[in-house]
């Protein structure tokens, strides 16, 4: 772990224009996330946590403020440059899994690799991750043949396949029952601890947040609480 934060956010603001009315989703966020940290961002609906997720993931551009991901300032990146950021530096885990229904589990993982122009076979290290995730014998199945928990574990593998600087997980247990939620959270924690993977998890569930090293609470577009777990 190096001393430089892998995520540095300074004075981040995001204003959406809905009709004639500007909506200030983020009103000045300052946040550092250390390399290898597991951070939970909690907050009620409309607090701005999803907007923060989108900006850190390069899906949306900030209105004002500085955002540095793994040494790259994304404040003034073009759409194309933000796309490249998503290819190489960010892995996503979504609430609804978002696997492509026409592809097998393995192909869902490989397509992320293909889009990042990563060639060559999967490393043995990565293949061992399939065992850790419990999907080694489910890779030939399409999403419709997988349980919600299995789909989310495939999505985690997809998020990790390009060895991203950060994994962003948006309500990763939102669609899962308690048992599968615990499995997924345990896995995220294991990947964080064992592989030093930086993870930023958005959740509204304090129990899920408890799996993280640190919790940041957002309210009305500002950080309200920043506390270690």
């Amino acid at each position: 772990m190096t001393s430089d934060p892998i995520i540095q956010v300074r004075g981040l603001q995001k204003v959406y224009q809905t009709g004639d009315v500007p909506v200030r989703a983020l009103r000045g966020i300052d946040l550092d996330v250390a390399r290898g940290e597991f951070l939970a961002v909690i907050g009620p609906s409309g607090s701005g946590k999803s907007t923060l997720f989108h900006i850190l993931g390069g899906l949306a551009a900030p209105t004002e403020g500085e955002v540095i991901i793994d040494g790259e300032n994304i404040q003034h990146l073009s759409d194309s440059q933000r796309t490249e950021l998503r290819q190489h530096k960010v892995g996503f885990v979504f609430q609804k899994y978002n696997l492509l229904p026409t592809l097998t589990a393995l192909d869902n993982i490989l397509i992320a690799r293909y889009l990042a122009r990563q060639n060559g076979p999967l490393s043995d290290d990565f293949k061992r991750l399939f065992d850790l995730l419990g999907i080694a014998n489910r890779l030939d199945h399409k999403p419709r043949a997988l349980s919600g928990g299995e789909q989310q574990r495939v999505a985690i593998a997809r998020a990790l396949v390009n060895h991203p600087a950060i994994v962003l997980a948006d309500e990763p247990t939102g669609n899962l029952d308690t048992e599968n939620s615990t499995i997924v959270l345990d896995l995220l924690r294991a990947i964080n601890h064992d592989h030093g993977q930086t993870i930023l998890m958005i959740t509204h569930n304090p129990e899920a947040a408890a799996f993280a090293d640190r919790t940041v609470a957002i309210r009305d577009g500002r950080i309200a609480v920043d506390s270690p777990a």
Binding site: S80, F94, L100, T102, I111
Partner: protein, 365 residues
């Protein structure tokens, strides 16, 4: 990987894929059948012209090379022509149109048989009475005609005397004098066909005939005549093919547009996922264009196969009215037309997909 995604996408909605490809196929079939029909009709005319056994055809100056010309030639020219050097025999032919592209020919039957070198009777025998009629196997099959039955053509009752092999002048052959009286062309014929004493003398005979008949009739070799049986020499037919081609492009455009548009709407979330994973707009467009090309190629294969089926159906039910041939030379043209139409149809849905905002797309239910 991208090809796998494209293939799996098409396989996933296989009914839509199949229907889209079939519609593209139908447009290809339409083009190929129209072209095949045009070529087939012209080839049929050329084959029947060659089947007479003559080397030279004489027609009025400036008349059409095709069979629908009116009778403008005085029958006395037949005897005159037959006395010219290198002319072995001359036959006056009166062509009367009876339905659509189908016509009947009036000839002196004995001279006709002699010029052709003999006809093969599949049933019955030659013309013996003025109201006898000979039909070829195509006309017989199409109309389920039996020897001995009566047949009403040109508002006249004919007696079917025989059925001959196809490929001799016309699908229907009757006595010249009877057809002249029925059509009000007494003493006139449409054209004169000439057999020369030696095929090597054909050009010499043509030159001599054109010299002596100048201003009345024009002599052409059978090779020249049949070479004129070409779509390029028939501007209305060529125009018709162009209209069908344009319609096909439009149909291809519409069907692919609708198919891809619904696919893009349906796959909004998937497109959002691809974008979130790092797919650039051009990559999304690339995927949809590959899908379109695959659909178009699949449709072309279906279209070519369907054109064989269309040919079989037409040739079974209306061989005397319509002749269809398979024209492989038009396969790439029809394929290109289908692909162009399909790609045009893919432009808007493709751009819509490529421009989709990943956040909105991911939120789409």
């Amino acid at each position: 990987m991208i090809n796998k995604l494209v293939f799996e996408n098409l396989k996933h909605r296989w009914v839509r894929t199949l229907l889209t490809a079939v519609v593209i196929g139908v447009q290809v079939t339409l083009i190929l059948t129209i072209v095949g029909l045009s070529e087939g009709m012209l080839q049929d005319s050329a084959r029947r012209a060659r089947g007479v056994g003559a080397q030279i055809w004489l027609k009025p100056e400036g008349s059409s090379s095709f069979t629908l010309a009116s009778a403008q030639v005085n029958e006395k020219f037949v005897a005159f022509v037959s006395k010219q050097p290198h002319v072995d025999s001359a036959l006056g032919v009166l062509i009367a149109q009876i339905f659509g592209f189908t016509s009947m020919a009036g000839v002196d039957y004995d001279e006709f048989v002699e010029m052709t070198g003999g006809v093969k009777y599949l049933a019955g025998g030659p013309l013996r009475q003025p109201d006898d009629i000979i039909v070829d196997q195509f006309y017989q099959r199409q109309n389920d005609i039996k020897v001995g039955q009566s047949l009403k053509i040109l508002n006249h009752q004919w007696h079917v005397a025989g059925v001959i092999e196809e490929g001799k002048l016309s699908h229907i052959i009757v006595s010249l004098s009877r057809l002249q009286s029925l059509t009000g062309n007494a003493g006139r014929v449409t054209q004169i066909v000439v057999k020369v004493d030696n095929p090597a003398n054909t050009q010499t005979a043509i030159n001599q005939l054109n010299a002596v008949l100048k201003g009345n009739l024009h002599a052409v070799s059978i090779d020249e005549l049949t070479s004129l049986y070409n779509v390029n020499n028939l501007p209305p037919l060529k125009g018709f093919i162009n209209v069908i081609t344009a319609l096909s492009i439009f149909v291809g455009f519409l069907v692919v547009f609708l198919s891809l548009y619904t696919a893009v709407i349906e796959r909004t979330r998937e497109i959002g996922v691809l974008k979130a994973l790092g797919a650039k707009p051009m990559k999304i467009l690339d995927i949809l264009i590959r899908e379109t090309l695959l659909l178009a190629v699949f449709g072309c294969i279906i279209g070519i196969l369907l054109s064989y089926a269309a040919k079989a159906v037409i040739m079974w039910y209306a061989p005397a009215f319509l002749q269809v041939v398979i024209v492989p030379g038009w396969w790439p043209v029809a394929a290109l037309i289908a692909i162009v139409g399909a790609l045009l149809g893919a432009v808007y849905p493709g751009l819509k997909a490529a421009r989709q905002d990943p956040i909105e797309a991911l939120a789409y239910d």
